[in-house]
C-alpha cells in the first residue's frame, strides 16, 4: 500500500515538473506546479509529517502559486512567449543535467538504497513542532519574522511609483 501511494505521488510530482518544462503557457506552468507541490505534500504526509504536509499545501500550492498567477495576470504578454533560444542549448542542458543526476544518485545507490527506515514513531504533530519551535529554535523563529517584515517593506518600496503619494 505504501509503495503504491509512493509510486502514484512521485509520478505525479515528476510529471508535473516535466509538464512545466514542456508547456509554453505561463498560467499552465503555474497549474502544473500546483500538481507537483500538492503531490509532494502527500509524500510528506507519507513520511509522518502531517503539519509540514498541511503548510506545504496551504502556503506553496495556495499562497505562492496564487502570487505567481497574479503576476502573470498583471504582466499579460500580448505577443505571447518569445521564440526558442539557439537550438543546442536545451540539449546541452539535458546532457549536463543527466551527468549531474548520476553524480547525485550514485552515492545513494551505492550506500543508502537498502537502508530501511527505523521502526519507531516520530511525532510530527503541531504540538511537538510548536514546543520545539518556541524553546529550542526561538532565536531562528524571531529572525524569520524579521526577514518577513523586511521582504514586505522591500516589496512595497520597490514597487512604489516615483510620483505616487
Amino acid at each position: 500500500m505504501y509503495y503504491f501511494l509512493f509510486l502514484i505521488l512521485s509520478i505525479m510530482a515528476v510529471g508535473g515538473v516535466i509538464g512545466m518544462i514542456l508547456s509554453r503557457n505561463q498560467a499552465y506552468n503555474a497549474l502544473f506546479l500546483v500538481l507537483s507541490f500538492a503531490s509532494l505534500g502527500g509524500l510528506y504526509a507519507l513520511l509522518d509529517a502531517p503539519f509540514i504536509a498541511t503548510i506545504q499545501i496551504i502556503i506553496y500550492a495556495g499562497a505562492i502559486i496564487v502570487l505567481f498567477l497574479f503576476v502573470i495576470m498583471i504582466i499579460n504578454l500580448k505577443k505571447g512567449l518569445p521564440q526558442e533560444r539557439k537550438k543546442w542549448i536545451p540539449y546541452l542542458a539535458i546532457f549536463l543535467g543527466v551527468i549531474f543526476l548520476f553524480q547525485i544518485i550514485y552515492p545513494v545507490i551505492s550506500n543508502l538504497i537498502f537502508f530501511k527506515q527505523q521502526k519507531g514513531i516520530i511525532e510530527g504533530s503541531p504540538l511537538n513542532l510548536g514546543s520545539a519551535l518556541f524553546s529550542e529554535y526561538l532565536y531562528p523563529f524571531e529572525i524569520t519574522s524579521l526577514i518577513i517584515i523586511i521582504a514586505l517593506i522591500g516589496a512595497v518600496v520597490l514597487l512604489k511609483r516615483k510620483g505616487a503619494k
Binding site: Q118, I148, A151
Partner: protein, 100 residues
C-alpha cells in the same frame, strides 16, 4: 516501509529537473518557478532524513525553508514586475545590460 533511498532518488530527480528547467526556459517567471522546485526537492530530502533519524529537527528546518521561500517569492516577483515596468519585457535574453 519504504527505504529512504527511494525518497532521496526522487529528490535528486526533482532537483535535476529544476536545473534543466532553469536553463531551458526563457521567461523570468518560469525560471523563478524552477527555483521553487529546487527548494522543494531539498525539503523532501530533509523530511526523509528526519523520518529516518526519528528526529524532529529536519521538519523545523523545512518550516524555515518554506517561510523563506514565501519571502523570496514576494521580493522576486516585485523585482520581476519592476523589470517589466521599465523594460516592457521579461525575456532573460533581452536583459543584457552588463553583457559588455
Amino acid at each position: 516501509m519504504i527505504p529512504i533511498g527511494y525518497y532521496l532518488i526522487l529528490s535528486g530527480i526533482l532537483f535535476t529537473l529544476g536545473i534543466i528547467a532553469f536553463f531551458i526556459k526563457k521567461d523570468l517567471i518560469t525560471m523563478f518557478m524552477s527555483i521553487e522546485i529546487m527548494l522543494n526537492s531539498a525539503n523532501l530530502a530533509f523530511i526523509a532524513f528526519s523520518r529516518n533519524l526519528l528526529s524532529i529537527n529536519g521538519q523545523i528546518v523545512v518550516f524555515f525553508i518554506i517561510t523563506l521561500a514565501a519571502a523570496e517569492a514576494c521580493l522576486g516577483l516585485a523585482i520581476i514586475l519592476l523589470i517589466f515596468r521599465q523594460r516592457k519585457t521579461i525575456r532573460s535574453e533581452e536583459i543584457n545590460l552588463m553583457k559588455g
